[in-house]
Amino acid sequence: MYDFFIGPFEEFAFMRRAMAGCLALALGATPVGVFLTLRRMSLTGDAMSHAILPGAAVGYLLAGLSLGAMTIGGAIAGFTVAMLSGWVARVTAAREDSSLAAFYLISLATGVLIVSMRGSNVDLLHILFGSALALNNAALFLIAGISTTTLVALAILYRPLVMECLDPEFLRSVSRLSPVAHYGFLFLVVLNLVGGFHALGTLMAVGIMILPAAAARFWSRDISRLLAVAVTGAVVSGYVGLLLSYHVGLPTGPAIILTAGSFYILSLTFGVDGVIRSHIHPKRHFQK
């Protein structure tokens, strides 16, 4: 039992580093995912995860598999797409979702083109799917730093962010912090996706952000508990995913995200607000 659940982490440093990376991602990216789902922006997270690709690819072209170059490139590409789509929505009649879709598709195609022309399929796979088991100390410090920054920023922005999600017009009428909350939040989304792509790749990074957050909605109707359930779900998904990857020989990123996906399906089925309790066996109603 001990050998199965703890042994791999005791024996191998790469497993410990991967677990520490998953823990950091769960603490930073998942709360951001909770706010993304509450703002009905889950697919924005997905779009942004694609948008960082050309920046990472240019970083790779200039400096090879360099952590710093790929991170800075990815962050610049992500922020550019977020700002451009917001700007187009403000100065034209186009809605933000359509301009975001346009820019992220251009961004994604550019990224794939760059990697295909100058790199190999292996490089492309690394960028798209990451490698949690190959996290070195520098990558781990980067992810931990991003998580710490995220937690501090969320603590500062928490109240305006909740107000922005709950009643944006009210926030605009009582405070000038609405754009700070909006763009600060987008900054955190991009930052966490950039951190996540080192461990899980650009395509999977959004999974650890959104799946535990979406699952948590079936367990609680209170924002604080929602955050706690989502983070716990993400930590457990990281742990179980790494164990599956180690014992069954599965690729790490998909194993972690599929575990988080299973958590979502279980929550959807058995959660307090899930299908069974809400529709198949609804609770008895009160007299008044």
Binding site: L38, I156, C165, L166, D167, E169, S173, R221, D222, I223
Partner: protein, 250 residues
Amino acid sequence: MGADMKKEILRFENLTLGYERHPAVHHLDFSVRRNAMVAVAGPNGAGKSTLLKGIIRTIKPMGGSIRLCGIKQREIAYLPQRTSLDTTFPITVFDMVAMGMWQAAGAFGCFDRQRNARVMQALQRVGLAGMEHRPIGSLSGGQAQRALFARLLLQDASLILLDEPFNAIDSASVRDLLGLIHTWREEDKTILVVLHDLDLIRSAFSETILLARELVAGGATDKVLSAYNLSQAQHLCERFESQSLLCERG
């Protein structure tokens, strides 16, 4: 004149507000006295909601100005016709209402016993005592409107703007909320309420502004809401809609 200006809280000077060069409020000159309770009436498209949006600076004037006399922008509380409140958001009635204390608490201010008591008091005043722990999504339309009024109460505003606050709520809730608005006046607040129900205006408001993109009449309600003025307002709105030439008044 000087004494009159001291009594004013809000002055519109040759104000034009609108969308894409089309005026919704056209060359409006009017002032609102401090501690007044004024109904804003007019046909659909008369510019009533636009006027309130101009006051809270969501829309910038195309011409003229809106002057606040003796109050700051943050002392204005506004309840829009269609609130952007997301009732699916996982938050309790207490926490939603407590957001009305933003000016006092800000982003970091803690909620001590005194602030919690003020929130409870506001809930009690709107008849929602005992519902503070319920999720906002479980409230009926009337209860949600009462909760929004409780949030307004906590804003401690000098000027309160309400846009169609009694839409789709039952007569008991209308009566209660109207009673609450009257108590605000005793607390030295100035209230501007956009309403469609002329009978309600006649019974509850002594002052009215009748708009039809421009000012048709303003002053005592019984004089403003005369048959002639109402027909004039309807005619003016229709006339504006059929004209799209450039305004010669600049």
